[in-house]
Amino acid sequence: MTESINQNPDATPLPSPVQDIVVPDGYVETPLWDPFEAFLGPIFDKQTPSKEGATELWMAFRADARHINAGGVVHGGMLMTFADACLGSVAWNANNRAPCVTVSMQTNFMAPARLGDLVEARAQMRRETRSVLFVGGEFFVDGKLIMTAQSVWKVLGR
């Protein structure tokens, strides 16, 4: 069994409000440290080799009744919070887990996610400078692209 990328030896992960968590095939449950992410989770992750031989980070969540908007589809706030968690994981891990904060995020919504859907994200570091990180991600349901997100992160103290 592979380990989640989101390890933090100095803290205990927050409990999930969801009972009887079903982990999607190939994924592990992601330990979460942010109360807002734990409140909306669980979130899952896996690492797979990319075509170029690098490691790709994938994360996922299963849409349930807590995530739905007035139109009956997954709320944009849920998708953006999930995006912030995914892109933040890339930023945090690429940077030896130094604290970093979101400076900017641009999100394009191409198709809705629905109740019961497994929303999967592939997140990648686009460019890394000493004090600024550029991270992007693509979001899929059943292999169909539903959303993209680009973000800029500031490494604190640099």
Partner: protein
Amino acid sequence: MALDLSGYTPIWDQGFNAYVGPFLYGTRADGSGHLVLELREEHMNGGGMVHGGLLMTVADVMLGKAVNEAADGAACSTMTLNTDFLAAGKGDAPLEATAEITRRTRSMVFVTGKVFQEDKILLTATGIWKILGAGK
């Protein structure tokens, strides 16, 4: 200074909005819409500050409400949302948000807005919504 929330009502108090909210919405003296969210422990990040995902959520709810009114109540969906994080939010004051429509076409609404605490802006947002059923 405490906010006067008389006349404010929750926006669609079910599903995500009920779970994360309530997102209280009212009209200010100048006629503009105004959103308020009282903060709770589960809204924060591991550093004890307001989670960035929540700031984007509040922007999405406020801008979406302004768009819905501009589209005369028609259902709309977010096509794109750009957010800049100007400052971190602490848990000691409610989140507030306002929005302004910049342009409405037959099938799209352009909108801008901000999320703030008292007089401190935490996040600025611009977005484009599609009016559903309005054709291409």
